[in-house]
Amino acid sequence: MELEKASARLAPRSPWQAVDLGTKLYRQWAAPVLWVWLAFTLAPFGLLLGWSLLAETLWPLFLFWWLKPLWERPLLAWYSHALFAETLTLKQLFQRWRHYALPGLASQLTWRRFSPARSFNTCVWQLEGAKEEQLSQRLRALNSYPSNRAGIMTIVVLHLEQFMAMGLMVLLYTLVPWQFSLEWSDWFYDQGALQMAIASATLYLVMFVTEPLYVACGFALYLNKRTWLEGWDLQLGLTRLGRHRATRSGATVLMLLALMLLPLPEPATAQPAPRNEEQQEVIELLASPDYMPFEERTERQWKDRDEDSNSWLEEFWKHFFDNLDDDEQPESSSQPFDIPDAVLWILFWALFAGLVIWLLTKVMNQLGLGSQRRDHSPVIPTHVAGMDIRRHSLPKNLRQAVENALAANDIRLALSLMLRSALASLLRRYPVALAAGSTEQQCLRNLKAAHGEPLPILYLQRLIQAWISTAWAHRPVDADAVRSLLTHWEEIRAEEAADA
């Protein structure tokens, strides 16, 4: 890697300035990288879309989305060469594919698929080609403070992708002639072949725009991080100085070096050029071990903030993490939350795994691929036409209860008891779907529709007629008719018991 060939100025930047640089790279080379994207993805997308439409399933499209890390590799390869003034042709990209696309791909397509810092970490795998044992060390070093913000950048691009896809779908919806009377819900949720093809093509079109941008920004963040850590800007400056050494005096070189290392003063407060003694002081200061000492810190540390701004939640987390770190502190036992680091990590991964499983289950259920077995047997209701038909609410001795009601000349109560009892028994033997608002006649209709007209259901019909006449027409049947119905019911129960 020849830094002096870089076509962008390698200087330490804030993460957002680095993202700006990535955007600039994308704009600069939009045409070639879009061709790269099309060359590597159009055919697979077409095949997977065709498969999806033929099989009427979304899984092939989901596969295309899942393989995003693979599609991003050629883009990164192109950017990484183009930055250092080497333009790869499509042929070269295809020829070298095995070398740049495979390192770390397996992990990126499996357990690291949802890594928010994918755009950044891909650069480490692909461009540095580190071995697995060095890789984690390298990633730890590159992801150390200050944060590279690759995760947030991923979230931003994800939203951009979603909003663009949604906007494009809405735009297409507005272009559908009104004669089609197409509803919003049909447009967005109908899984017909046409809608699926349009939605997939829309998503592909959006990815066509966002993916090269995403890769460029991740690459720029990576360059920025290395510039910070490895002082690429200094290296470049020294190289340039080295070239001029033969023609320049030593004092001038030192002065330039000092000027380059020190923050540049504002023009308004510009100082006169330093004298020789001052230059010597600067050189000594730079050479001393106190100047910008490097230290490695592994414990978490909270920023000092105003006391007033500390909320109870912050206090809680502060205690929580403090306890994690202070294993050897005896006073930690006096604090309320003493959880070891391992437990926290187990908790985190358990939660994460739970979330992934839950999401997968939801998606599979949505696609109708879930393995859940639905019990289609109707639920036996507890109330029909407002009547409680649970066993415990019914009299133990029905005949006795009915006779008591008849003795009190309460025909309605007697029939009500018989109806409840009959429904409770029949709905267990002949289950049907009923709602709280189902009337007795609906219950009868549903029973007939589901089970025909066996004797118990015909008996229920007679009973319901007597009930309607008594309850709603205010023409109570006589006591003998009630007893006759009761006797008939007892006979039916006896037959059922004998059959059982």
């Binding site: 407002g386 007795e440 709603w472």
Partner: protein, 323 residues
């Protein structure tokens, strides 16, 4: 002309009228039944359906079978209230103001595409529908009984329409949905036109009167004697009241809906040949009584619910009458 004296006579007469209308309006038995229930209940009907389903034919047939006067107003954006009710005009000969009666002076008024006229013209019907009278130049004219407004509106092509205000909607006893006939009925209709059994224009001249205003009045009086048990009445009220705090509904039905539901349930029972109302009668008429009186909440609309689905859920959840 037939005039019922007993409930059985009234049921028979109702079935005769239904039979006659169903011969002309093929495949719309439910619509015919609901319109007749509204007529006997003394209410007005808002019919919603796409053009070409026989809304006008229904009203004309109704007028013919019942020997009632019939007028039709095509509501348009430039229709004025006086075009509906009438107005006073100066007669130069007699040098006096003369009342010119509008088409609302009739017994069956078809307000075709009512939502195409602006609100002030729609409002001209408020007094007519509620008070059954028309006031012109301060003078009130009582309309002949029975009086019924059948308004139609098209669910499609809502551009340039004026949605009916709540006050007006509430004055309709029923909102009846008229849909396409099923395949068998449509085949029968086309065959009847092709073999000349009925003319393509589906004119109603072949219909003979079954009863008249007096017969209808007698039916209405008999329907008032249909028994409605306290529990059943309470069930009807619980249904209406449930609309006021039901999830998915932002506005429920008014007490006018409770009255309408009880009254229509009685007529429904009469049509079924019973002198008492069952909870099933209440359920049967609950949808046409309530569907135009409820308003879906915004989130329910976003979820794709309709008044029909909301009412379906409501009727499932309101417990049927207790013992």
């Amino acid at each position: 002309m037939t005039q019922p004296t007993t409930l059985a006579d009234a049921t028979q007469l109702a079935q005769d009228i239904e039979h006659h209308l169903n011969q002309v309006l093929i495949g719309q038995q439910q619509v015919v039944r609901e319109v007749l229930i509204a007529l006997v209940s003394g209410g007005h009907v808002l019919i919603e359906g796409v053009p070409g389903l026989g809304k006008t034919l229904l009203v004309r047939s109704l007028g013919k079978v019942l020997e009632l006067d019939f007028n039709r107003i095509q509501f348009t954006p430039d229709l004025m209230p006086t075009d509906v009710t009438g107005h006073a005009m100066y007669d130069q000969k007699s040098e006096q103001f003369r009342i010119r009666r509008g088409p609302a002076f009739t017994q069956l008024l078809l307000a075709d595409e009512i939502n195409r006229a602006p609100a002030k013209t729609q409002a001209a019907l408020l007094e007519v529908m509620q008070e059954r009278q028309i006031t012109i130049e301060g003078k009130a004219f009582t309309l002949n009984e029975p009086y019924m407004v059948l308004a139609t509106q098209n669910p499609l092509d809502q551009e340039g329409t004026y949605p009916l205000p709540e006050a007006e909607l509430d004055r309709f006893l029923f909102k009846v949905l008229i849909d396409y006939p099923d395949h068998a009925d449509e085949t029968r209709l086309v065959n009847m036109v092709l073999d000349g059994t009925i003319r393509a224009s589906l004119d109603v001249e072949s219909l003979s009167p079954v009863t008249d205003a007096a017969g209808l009045k007698a039916m209405k009086a008999l329907s008032d004697s249909v028994l409605i048990d306290d529990e059943v009445l309470d069930y009807a009220l619980r249904i209406v009241r449930a609309t006021r705090d039901f999830s998915g509904l932002s506005h429920g039905a008014s007490p006018r809906a409770s009255i309408a539901l009880a009254r229509a349930s009685r007529v429904q029972a009469l049509f079924e040949g019973r002198d008492f109302v069952t909870p099933d009668d209440v359920q049967q008429v609950a949808r046409p009584v309530l569907r135009h009186r409820i308003q879906l909440s915004a989130d329910a609309e976003i979820e794709g619910q309709t008044p029909e689905t909301a009412l379906g859920r409501l009727l499932e959840q309101v417990e049927a009458p207790k013992q």
